[in-house]
């Protein structure tokens, strides 16, 4: 973490590591607490390790940004239709940690958050579908609401876990990234996932998940790669695809 960079990506927002600063809020997305236990249940016996990593990373970001308000833009925990023991424990301690360090906490509901309110309500934290902030509508992005009800020119979503795969020789590294493009007449920002078990899905080569993205071409979307607090503006998807074809 020698060269800390923040990169303005929209008028009122800048990238700080894997989070987006909008006004005096820090926006994170897709933590997927409890992922390990879910993997354990599928037979992948990796020990729990990401909770600690998430807290360490968040601490660095808050120290650096000095922000006191935080928005979790959906998918705080991993399981869909239930809540596991690991999730009970980790979601609770994570929210308590936030209460200790932040003056305001906003929880946006993601598709994995059906049972999150059981824990958050006990701690008096309410969960909502979206929030409007500095001309931005922040929402998880797994479904498209009736946009006529909202006039914000910018949409900020998570859900997609975007990353790009860089291939050279036999080496392949995936790097998490922010995306900036359009959805209909609005500006669209996609935040990478704040979890450390998976890099996410390679938006250059895999089919997309979010209804905001999977019915349009990403060719003109701009890609901002992020690796340990460094931001790498890569240009548009179309250009990356053309350029990286030369590095096979």
């Amino acid at each position: 973490m020698n060269s800390l960079t923040t990169i303005p990506i929209i008028e009122s927002g800048e990238i700080i590591d894997l989070s987006l600063k909008i006004g005096d809020y820090l926006v994170l997305s897709d933590l997927h607490l409890g992922y390990e236990q879910s993997l354990n249940r599928e037979g992948l016996m990796i020990p729990k390790f990401q909770f600690k990593k998430i807290l360490e990373r968040l601490e660095k970001i808050t120290k650096y940004s000095g922000l006191e308000k935080i928005i979790i833009n959906g998918d705080l925990k991993h399981e869909f239709g239930k809540i596991s023991w690991q999730e009970q424990k980790e979601v609770k301690s994570f929210l308590e940690y936030l209460q200790d360090y932040f003056s305001e906490i906003v929880l946006i509901k993601g598709n994995h958050d059906n049972f999150t309110p059981y824990i958050s309500e006990k701690l008096d934290i309410e969960m909502r579908d979206n929030i409007s902030l500095n001309n931005c509508l922040i929402l998880h992005g797994h479904k498209i609401p009736d946009l006529n009800e909202y006039k914000e020119p910018t949409l900020v979503i998570g859900h997609e876990h975007p990353c790009i795969g860089l291939r050279n020789g036999e080496r392949l590294e995936k790097i998490k990234c922010f995306l900036k493009g359009q959805f209909k007449d609005r500006e669209l920002i996609v935040i990478p996932s704040f979890n450390f078990i998976s890099e996410g899905s390679d938006i250059l080569h895999e089919k997309l998940l979010s209804p905001f993205l999977n019915k349009q071409s990403l060719d003109n979307f701009e890609v901002y790669g992020v690796e340990n607090f460094e931001v790498f503006p890569f240009g548009t998807v179309k250009n990356i695809l053309q350029a990286s074809a030369k590095f096979v």
């Binding site: 036999e170 890099e199 590095f247």
Partner: protein, 859 residues
């Protein structure tokens, strides 16, 4: 003690010992005993361990079974045949199991007819495909001869009721033992046999092998150790070669002068010609993609001769149904030609083949013999094989293979040792059987040839891993598969699901069936997960004889559309078979002889005559070989087993190349070149491009890299240490780690009925690897992955030998500068680079790629 069996028994002696009904059956069926039968039947009768090595079609299986059938017949006559298993037959293939069952049917039925009563000798196949109803039936009426696979055997060892039926086993037959011994399936089997031995005491071990070397090693593998001494075993070696009609063919008169297109066209005409003059032809290539491309080209170039009805591909990436269809069509004689990679090498029944063609070098003598042995499937019929060469290096390689094959010189087999992942599985299995004393279990494990030298530290690290000691105490209940009580010196299983978990997850073949490939909604095949991950938009590849363009991947499914034109599978995605070390050294010896002939100024005629006599090739081929060597000789020097040639040349734009003429096979060169590149990268902080082939390797860089100086820093002592550092961040290690984690049951294939999910697939080998590296540098799975890469994938041991030759001056190093690559370097340089070795951290890699892409975008 391992001994060669040199006593040959007379037919009279053998018949005297066989049950009269069995003798009568045999006499009515065959004229006389084959040599293998004369040597081995009596030994098996006397319950001695035997390894029988003889070519396919020499009556090996009957040799193994005849005594056993005779004994079962005696018991049946006396009505003493119990409801227990007397003999276990193990083969590497389910298809082979099914063939064997069919082949036993006739003798058993006919002997019963001779006896005129109901003998009731049962045999049955039990594999992963056997339905539950049949399994239940087997428990009620166990087969006297159980036909199975290594994996199923290890499951039966923990089956609570069925294992009791194994308590009478007197014979275990391991078929195609050579193909098991050289990989982890064999390692796995060797431990299962020791566990069986521990369960029931001594039994007779019978190994059936194709031509391999050294047989003594395979015999040790078969029988294992007792009280630290290798158990007794007789070796029956009948490698009188089944008469070989074997030739090397050049598709063009002068392979040196012909351009690749010309050679390629000529090759397909030659193939078509050979195929049309035979009834059924089996073509072997070395790779899946090679197989695909030959089917594709024959169909395209000779539309009137080949269509879906008479030509088919057969390789491991095709679905089971397609492969079975091909095998059946072959048996029924419907096909004119089948193209296969390695999948048809083993002895499954494919009917009558009258010609085998090997397109380009099979890379080892034993593989050549095994493949060619698939033709003329009767004992006294010649096997007919043609090796079709595609370039000049290929010509030389195939010629030396021909020489060694005709002279019976076979390359040595490599048997993996101390595999900690396979050990983890067996520790689990053992714990399920009962509680164990830690030291006693260690002794049982060490009876296997593959673990004879296992260190106590490694053994204990596996116990510690299996006990989940890598996780926090409170979470351990999730991860621990066994409990270890160090005070009482005992271990045992944990969890109620242990047996089920073990039975559904054991085995050593990595789950490569990975991703489904779909074209317009229809499944067209499967590709490996690693392969899928590397596919990029615009890539096209061949599958099932058709070309597809990659569109996108989602989870475990790949969407493609039909494409035309040449496939663009990235060149580094090499699945090529490596040249065997022994064969490589023989080629180097030939180079040495040629070197002295040329330096003594022998005439062209004289030398050609020598080549013709020495390599058994025709004059066209001899001429091409002569020319190839003469060019190299006149250009510079001829590298050989006594001279390592290092060639410096400067390519386009001043790029420096250092070519090492190390003809030791790709596995050795992989080890040498990566260790070397690592030293250079550390020293000069410069990118090093690397390319490896069987004949040598080159390193290349923008500036001076001092290849030879760096090479001098490498020695037989420090090679392993440097190589382990060099592979640390490679994809190879990450993907091998994933396989090892699977075998060690850290990644379970099947667990509580859960299928693989997308989320799980995204957790790549690399993330797991990184996590484990942070956890403990000596974690047993990590250690095994490294061992597998440097010892099994690469060949660090022979690389050490090469360095020793240099250290003892048996091999001199000669360097020279040149403006264009020398003839011997040409193919290597032409293949382009394989990898850029940077040993950079992830962040450095990202920064470099970011800069490069941004530069490229700006133009």
């Amino acid at each position: 003690m391992i001994q060669k069996q040199d006593r040959i028994y007379s037919s009279k002696e053998i018949f005297a010992n066989l049950h009269p009904w069995v003798s009568k059956w045999f006499k009515g069926k065959f004229e006389k005993f084959t040599p293998a039968q004369k040597y081995a039947i009596m030994d098996i009768h006397q319950q001695k361990n035997v390894l029988i090595s003889s070519p396919t079609g020499s009556g090996k299986t009957l040799t193994a079974f005849l005594s056993i059938i005779s004994e079962l017949t005696s018991l049946a006559q006396k009505e003493e045949l119990e409801d227990k298993v007397y003999c276990i037959y193990i083969s590497p293939l389910k298809a082979l199991d099914n063939d064997i069952e069919k082949n036993l049917e006739e003798p058993l039925r006919e002997i019963e007819m001779i006896s005129g009563k109901n003998l009731g000798i049962r045999k049955a196949v039990r594999t992963g495909d056997t339905p539950q109803s049949k399994r239940a039936a087997m428990l009620k009426n166990p087969p006297h001869i159980l036909i199975t696979t290594p994996e199923t055997l290890s499951i039966l060892l923990v089956a609570p009721k069925f294992r009791e039926k194994l308590s009478h086993v007197k014979y275990v037959i391991v078929d195609e033992i050579h193909s098991l011994a050289e990989n982890k399936r064999g390692v796995h089997l060797s431990l299962s046999l020791e566990r069986l031995h521990h369960l029931i005491g001594n039994f007779t071990r019978i190994g059936l092998s194709a031509t391999v070397h050294p047989l003594e090693k395979v015999a040790r593998f078969l029988v294992g150790y007792e009280y630290g001494q290798v158990r007794e075993c007789l070796i029956v070696d009948i490698n009188y070669l089944k008469q070989l009609d074997m030739e090397v063919i050049c598709p063009v008169d002068d392979i040196i002068a012909a351009d690749p297109d010309e050679t390629n066209t000529a090759m397909y005409h030659l193939l078509d010609d050979l195929i049309s003059h035979h009834k059924t032809t089996l073509i072997f290539t070395n790779t899946r993609s090679g197989t695909e491309s030959i089917v594709y080209n024959l169909k395209k170039r000779f539309k009137e001769n080949y269509n879906q009805e008479n030509i088919m591909a057969h390789h491991s990436s095709l679905s089971k149904e397609i492969r079975l269809e091909t095998e059946n069509n072959l048996k029924e004689g419907k096909l004119k030609v089948v193209v296969s990679s390695t999948s048809l090498e083993l002895g499954i029944d494919i009917g009558y083949i009258d010609l085998v063609i090997l397109v380009s070098s099979p890379k080892s003598v034993s593989r050549a013999l095994q493949r060619i042995g698939r033709s003329g499937h009767q004992l006294h019929e010649k096997s007919k094989g043609r090796m079709l060469v595609v370039d000049r290096d290929d010509l030389l390689e195939c010629s030396v293979i021909l020489k060694n094959a005709l002279e019976g010189k076979i390359d040595s087999i490599n048997i993996p040792n101390n595999c900690l992942d396979v050990l983890s599985q067996h520790i689990y299995g053992m714990a399920i059987e009962n509680k164990w004393d830690i030291d006693y279990a260690y002794e049982v494990v060490k009876k296997s040839y593959c673990y004879h030298q296992l260190s106590k530290t490694d053994y204990l690290s596996v116990l510690s891993y299996m006990a989940g000691e890598y996780t926090s105490l409170e979470d351990r209940y999730v991860y621990a598969k066994i409990w270890v009580d160090y005070n009482k010196n005992m271990f045992g299983k944990r969890g109620r699901l242990a047996r089920m978990l073990y039975s559904t997850n054991i085995g050593t073949i990595p789950d490569r069936s990975g991703a489904v490939v779909k074209c317009a909604g229809k499944v067209v095949g499967r590709i490996e997960e690693d392969f899928m991950e590397k596919l990029r938009k615009g890539d096209s590849f061949v599958l099932g004889g058709n070309i597809y363009r990659f569109n996108y991947a989602r989870g475990m499914s790949v969407n493609v559309s039909p494409a035309s034109g040449p496939p663009t599978i990235p060149s580094w995605f090499s699945e090529q078979l490596p040249l065997s070390f022994d064969l490589a050294v023989d080629i180097q010896r030939f180079r040495d002889i040629m070197d002295s002939k040329l330096s003594y100024g022998k005439s062209k005629e004289e030398i050609m005559e020598f080549i013709h006599g020495y390599l058994y090739v025709d004059y066209n081929a001899a001429h091409s070989i002569f020319q190839y060597f003469q060019e190299q000789y006149l250009f510079a020097h001829i590298p050989s087993n006594r001279r390592l040639l290092v060639e410096y040349y400067t390519g386009f734009g001043g790029r420096k190349f250092v070519v090492f003429h190390t003809l030791f096979g790709r596995r050795v060169n992989d080890a040498l070149s990566r260790a070397l590149a690592y030293i250079i990268a550390k020293k000069f902080k410069r990118d090093v491009m690397i390319s490896v082939s069987d004949n040598g390797f080159y390193l290349s860089s923008e500036g001076k890299i001092g290849g030879l100086e760096a090479f001098k820093e490498l020695n037989s002592e420090n090679l392993v240490e440097i190589l382990i550092k060099a592979i640390d961040k490679t994809e190879t290690l990450a993907s091998r780690f994933r396989h090892c984690a699977g075998r060690s049951l850290m990644i379970l294939r099947r667990y509580k009925g859960q299928e693989k999910s997308v989320g799980r697939q995204q957790v790549k080998g690399k993330i797991l690897l990184k996590f484990v590296q942070e956890l403990d540098e000596n974690f047993s799975i990590l250690k095994e992955a490294r061992r597998e890469v440097i010892e099994d994938y690469m060949d660090v041991k022979n690389a050490q030998r090469v360095l020793e030759w240099i250290e003892s001056n048996q091999m001199e190093i000669k360097q020279f500068n040149t403006k264009i690559p020398s003839p011997f370097a040409f193919n290597l340089v032409a293949q382009g680079y394989l990898d850029v070795l940077k040993y950079e951290e992830r962040i450095e890699f990202i920064k470099r790629m970011h800069e490069a892409i941004v530069m490229e975008i700006r133009g």
